[in-house]
């Protein structure tokens, strides 16, 4: 009985840690979903660019030692720059009418980013600074890691700012107009290319923040992060519903908590299998995403 209680405490602890870390999945998912909403295209290189933003801040850190908040800020700026570069290389001059052209261009970009990172770091993991990693907030048998709390707070603030931007400013309303009726939006005087470019820059900044927070939570950056975060980001996007920002946030937390719970219950080698199962359950029951109507009813 006592063993069971300890297990339960550990499980709740895992779920809490997963929820905190899940905010990074939510940010990656928002990036995928926003670009899909505006362009009707997937940007497969988004998670890679987010982590590349964090790498860029490590590179800056290597030149002059900087305090951690400055490193995170550099990651956000670099993420924005990468977002714009990806827009130029993979979308601006590629015919949008061809469904596979931009998809393959961004897959190519994903591989390119990975190659550059592996080449520059010889594939070695790079330490990443964290804040409050020596703090532990205790609640009876539970403890909240300070660095994860920091990651959570930064992510929540970043997502809050993004939501304000999308729902309360001219850029956001123009962006949503484009995603709903591209032709009519143009005929209301909104420049499509300019709006699309701004969407890439802003999602890029969010990605840079996500990359930095992943680095801060994991403690290192490694080329091995790209693929899992691409896949998890896409899973979050699908579970949240393509194009839905609130959906991506909820799905990010859900996937984070789910994965950590199963890491505790079944071990780290099995956990992703259960995340995939979660995805299939959603595809079966709610193919339109977490906030859509159940399948089979209209």
């Amino acid at each position: 009985m006592e063993d069971f209680l300890f297990d339960l405490i550990d499980l709740v602890q895992s779920i809490a840690d997963g929820l905190l870390f899940g905010t990074t999945y939510a940010m990656i998912g928002i990036g995928f979903t926003l670009i899909f909403g505006v362009m009707d295209k997937l940007n497969m290189s988004y998670a890679a660019a987010a982590i590349a933003g964090a790498y860029a801040s490590v590179a800056a850190f290597a030149l002059v030692p900087l305090p951690a908040p400055v490193v995170f800020f550099v990651a956000a700026v670099a993420g924005g720059v990468f977002g714009y570069v990806i827009y130029l290389l993979c979308f601006r001059f590629i015919p949008l009418a061809s469904p596979l052209a931009t998809l393959m261009a961004t897959v190519g970009m994903l591989l390119l980013i990975d190659e550059i990172v592996v080449h520059e770091t010889d594939g070695m993991p790079q330490p990443y600074p964290a804040l409050f990693d020596d703090v532990m907030i205790e609640f009876g048998p539970f403890g909240l890691r300070g660095d994860l709390m920091f990651v959570f707070l930064v992510s929540v603030v970043a997502m809050g700012l993004l939501l304000y931007l999308i729902y309360r400013t001219r850029l956001g309303i123009a962006t949503r107009a484009v995603s709903q009726q591209p032709v009519a939006a143009q005929l209301c005087g909104i420049g499509l290319e300019r709006t699309n470019a701004m969407t890439f820059v802003i999602t890029g900044v969010l990605g840079g923040v996500a990359g930095a927070m992943i680095g801060a939570a994991v403690g290192v950056l490694s080329p091995l992060l790209t693929l899992p975060f691409t896949v998890k980001g896409l899973i979050v996007t699908v579970i949240g519903g393509l194009g839905s920002i609130p959906g991506a946030i909820v799905a990010g937390l859900l996937v984070g908590a789910f994965e950590n719970a199963f890491q505790f219950l079944r071990g780290v080698t099995e956990r992703d299998m259960y995340v995939m199962l979660l995805l299939f359950v959603f595809l079966f029951l709610r193919p339109g995403g977490i906030f859509s109507r159940p399948a089979g009813r209209d």
Binding site: L165, R168, T169, R170, L171, I173, A174, R176, A177, Q180, Q181, V183, A184, A185, Q186, L187, C188, G189, I190, G191, L192, M198
Partner: protein, 252 residues
């Protein structure tokens, strides 16, 4: 004000618009009619830059806008409505108007931050006059997608007016309206003419076209087959044939 010179649009082998020449004068309501598939909507799409032009020229106030992009045409002073309504369904009524109102302000470059990131705290008030015009003041906060059909049509017209255009292209604004609504639309168009707007009206509803336009051009198979005052058009034998004759597409 608006001049089309031997304007052509080919979709593959189909000549949707074929050597069309037109002139719309400032301050008039110009009707563009013709059977289904005669090239009316294509012409509108060419003027406002939605379709690329195959051949010919479009001039607005003397300026060449043949290859201008849609948002550039709007900046030049041409706004439009759509045959099948294209509102921003997930934005509220006032936001639909605000998007169009502010698009032009963007161009005047109020500085990067103000242009993109200024909030919408006072924005709702700025759309007040247009909400009144559309008779939608009470529904300003509703989602555009939840409005009734007639309300959506009114909102589309108000949205087209939001950017203060000199010229309006109206693509079948009376489609699906009952006679009472057509009458209201006719009054609105009259009021817009009083305001000095130039209007190109594509329409099937003859009560509206014959009642409100100054001049009319008739298209058939992408070519102009007649042009004149409503009276002249009604008595034109070619027009009668196009609508009632061999093609058998008399849907007027």
């Amino acid at each position: 004000m608006l001049e089309l010179k031997s304007l052509s649009k080919h979709f593959g082998g189909v000549r949707a618009v074929d050597g069309l020449g037109l002139e719309v004068r400032e301050g008039e309501i110009f009707g563009l009619i013709g059977p289904n598939g005669s090239g009316k909507s294509t012409t509108v799409n060419l003027i406002c830059g939605v379709f690329p032009v195959t051949a010919g020229e479009i001039r607005f106030e003397g300026r060449d806008i043949t290859h201008a992009q849609p948002h550039v045409c709007l900046a030049a002073g041409i706004a439009r409505t759509f045959q099948n309504i294209r509102l921003f369904g997930h934005l509220s009524v006032w936001q639909n108007l605000w998007v169009a109102q502010n698009a032009l302000a963007d161009r005047k470059s109020a500085g990067f931050v103000k242009r993109w990131f200024s909030g919408s705290a006072r924005a709702r008030d700025e759309t007040g006059a247009l909400l009144e015009f559309a008779g939608l003041a009470a529904k300003a906060d509703d989602l555009a997608g939840n409005l009734s059909f007639g309300e959506q049509r009114r909102l589309e017209l108000a949205r087209a007016l939001a950017a203060k255009p000199k010229m309006l292209l109206l693509d079948e604004p009376a489609a699906g309206m009952n006679m009472e609504e057509v009458g209201q639309l006719r009054e609105r168009l009259g009021a817009l003419r009083e305001d000095g707007k130039t209007i190109l009206l594509v329409e099937h509803v003859m009560e509206l076209v014959m009642g409100v336009t100054d001049r009319i051009a008739v298209l058939n198979f992408g070519q102009k087959i007649a042009e004149g005052t409503p009276d002249e058009i009604q008595n034109d034998p070619l027009v009668r044939e196009a609508y009632l004759g061999t093609s058998g597409q008399g849907d007027a």
